[in-house]
Amino acid sequence: MQRIIYDEGIKKLEEFAKENKKILGFPIIPDQKLGTALWVSNREIRIKYIISVEKIKKFFEGLFEGKIYATKCLSCNELYFPPQTECGKCRMENVEWVELSGEGELITFTKIFVKPYSFSHYEDYIIGIAKLKEGINVTAWIEEKDIQKIKIGSKVRLKVTKRLPEEYLTYVITIIE
């Protein structure tokens, strides 16, 4: 797991700085390659965003019922996914929630090996973009773990799934053929 390697790196850095505070009086360590002096900041912050989903609550209610919703502007017929309840083009707020078929085909994909810190507890994951029958595209993880079995043009279906270990509902692309 990449998380362990990442955390060990940070731990080593902090221990080195702590040690040098005792010896030198400062959290100053030499750069591993250049030998130049580096100050390891004593301050650290944790960022966790708190984001309003009030206007798109219906999307999450849908997921809870196993449905994936988009929105449709009633004045210009634009279909929105990700859903938005305001149409910037018309400057109107009258949209209707429409359930997506979830059926479509894969238009591209990748497998992530070097992961962001906050995703480093997962195994390598495959991300795809599917074009649905309705004409909109959806980005999501692909359930299939073997990249050799995935092709552009593969028939796919979206499925509501529980993401572990976080235990929240999201959606995933499944390969049908």
């Binding site: 990449q2 990442y6 790196g9 940070i10 850095l13 750069d31 390659k33 250049l34 130049t36 580096l38 900041s41 965003y49 984001i51 996914f81 990700p82 238009i107 591209t108 994909f109 990748t110 497998k111 992530i112 090996f113 070097v114 992961k115 962001p116 810190y117 906050s118 995703f119 480093s120 997962y122 994951y125 991300i127 973009i129 909109i136 595209n137 959806v138 980005t139 999501a140 993880w141 990249i147 552009i152 993401r163 999201t170």
Partner: protein
């Protein structure tokens, strides 16, 4: 009648892991050299524009920090962010400010100090350079991952292979090895590239630009100022074209082209009266945004240099080296020169100004016939695009 805007001072610092200097000291390197090369007085500068993405570096107000350190206070400043295209965005603002007649001389400094944070954090923050909620929060896209989505689609459609992508890395490392300021100064072989580990399939480590620190400075001045102060050999900005595209990649029409590049280039060509059918004959040298190898192939096609699906073949035939159809990224590009985001777009102009004046290392000097050069700078994954045309 619009005023012409010229470039009268240029420099960029050594790019790389710059743990030998802090944020301000890194900016000082390129600022000092640019001012010295321009022969102007600090008093002539009436505005400071700083291009910096930040996030990973400690200074929260980079423009203010540099203003104090470089002795540029009491004039007015701001910081510009357009992801990896911040540098070109900053240039555009300065260009418009001078063209409007409001300012005569503006200093534009691009800087990024990415190595003030650990690599996993940089990977995280740069991976968020798309749509946070619908792409990152749930699916953990990374910056290489975004471009890998384009690479997969391009390779599938046109039959390009991973080896073809490596050809871009080989060329850019070849020129990087001849640029003393490049992050990487060694050549790579096809074997080394092909054997490097996957970062985001099908992109491997050698397909990716590095996490770099660096600064670049350009001093822009009005035609009036240039005439009065007797600046020799200014390089003129002929035009700047800009465009932008959707935050969510899922909203893109296809993954074979960055539409924002096509649109930005069209605008720049139109404003500079460039014949789109003769691009490889018109421009002497080009710098394109090769944050990943696939990005250079897309850029060459999107700028209209080569036909769709032909880019990788032409690159494979070494037609983008000196002596080929059109030399591309003789600096080493983002791939080998390095990619300190805020500095990148500005360093492209520095490079091209020096190319047009025959001031780069001999082994990577293009033959200048028409005195025209083009810089192509992308922010994010085609989220922002800027095309700048320079002339002697």
């Amino acid at each position: 009648m619009e005023r012409k805007v010229g470039i009268i001072g240029v420099a960029y610092s050594k790019f790389g892991v710059r743990n030998d200097v802090n944020f301000n000291e890194l900016a000082y390197e390129s600022f000092k050299e640019a001012i010295n090369s321009s022969n102007i007085d600090l008093k002539d500068i009436s505005f400071l524009i700083v291009s910096n993405v930040g996030v990973w570096s400690s200074e929260p107000l980079p423009a203010v920090s540099l203003g104090e350190y470089l002795g540029l206070i009491g004039i007015g400043t701001l910081r510009v962010e357009a992801a990896c295209a911040s540098g070109s965005a900053a240039i555009k603002i300065a260009y418009d400010m001078i063209k409007s007649g409001e300012h005569e001389v503006i200093a534009v400094i691009g800087i990024e100090k990415m190595n003030e944070s650990t690599t996993p954090i940089v990977v995280e923050m740069i991976g968020r350079a798309g749509n946070y909620f619908w792409e990152f929060e749930n699916f953990g896209l990374t910056f290489p991952g975004y471009y890998a989505l384009y690479a997969t689609a391009y390779m599938n459609k046109y039959g390009a292979k991973e080896e073809d992508l490596c050809e871009v890395a080989i060329k850019n490392h070849y020129y990087g090895a001849r640029n003393p300021k490049a992050h990487f100064q060694k050549e790579v072989t096809l074997e080394e590239c092909m054997n490097s580990r996957y970062v985001a399939w099908p992109l491997k480590l050698y397909d990716c630009s590095p996490i770099s620190d660096g600064s670049a400075t350009v001093i822009l001045a009005s035609e009036d100022f240039i005439r009065k102060s007797g600046v020799k050999e200014p390089i003129w900005i002929r035009s700047i074209g800009a465009s932008n595209d959707t935050s969510n990649l899922s909203k893109r029409e296809n993954f074979l082209s960055l539409k924002a590049t096509v649109e930005a280039a069209d605008k720049a060509y139109k404003k500079a009266n460039i014949d789109k059918d003769k691009l490889t004959k018109i421009f002497d040298v080009i710098e394109v945004h090769d944050c990943f190898t696939i990005a250079e192939i897309l850029a060459c096609e999107d700028l209209g240099l080569f036909k769709r699906g032909e880019g990788y073949k032409i690159i494979r035939e070494k037609q983008t080296y000196i002596g080929g159809m059109i030399p591309v990224n003789l600096s080493g590009g983002l791939k080998a020169k390095g990619h300190p985001l805020g500095a990148t777009g500005i360093s492209m102009l520095v490079e091209l100004v020096k190319q047009l004046k025959y001031e780069v290392e001999k082994q990577r000097q293009a033959d200048i016939k028409n005195g025209l050069a083009l810089a192509h700078n992308v922010g994010g994954t085609g989220h922002y695009a800027y095309v700048t045309i320079l002339s002697r």
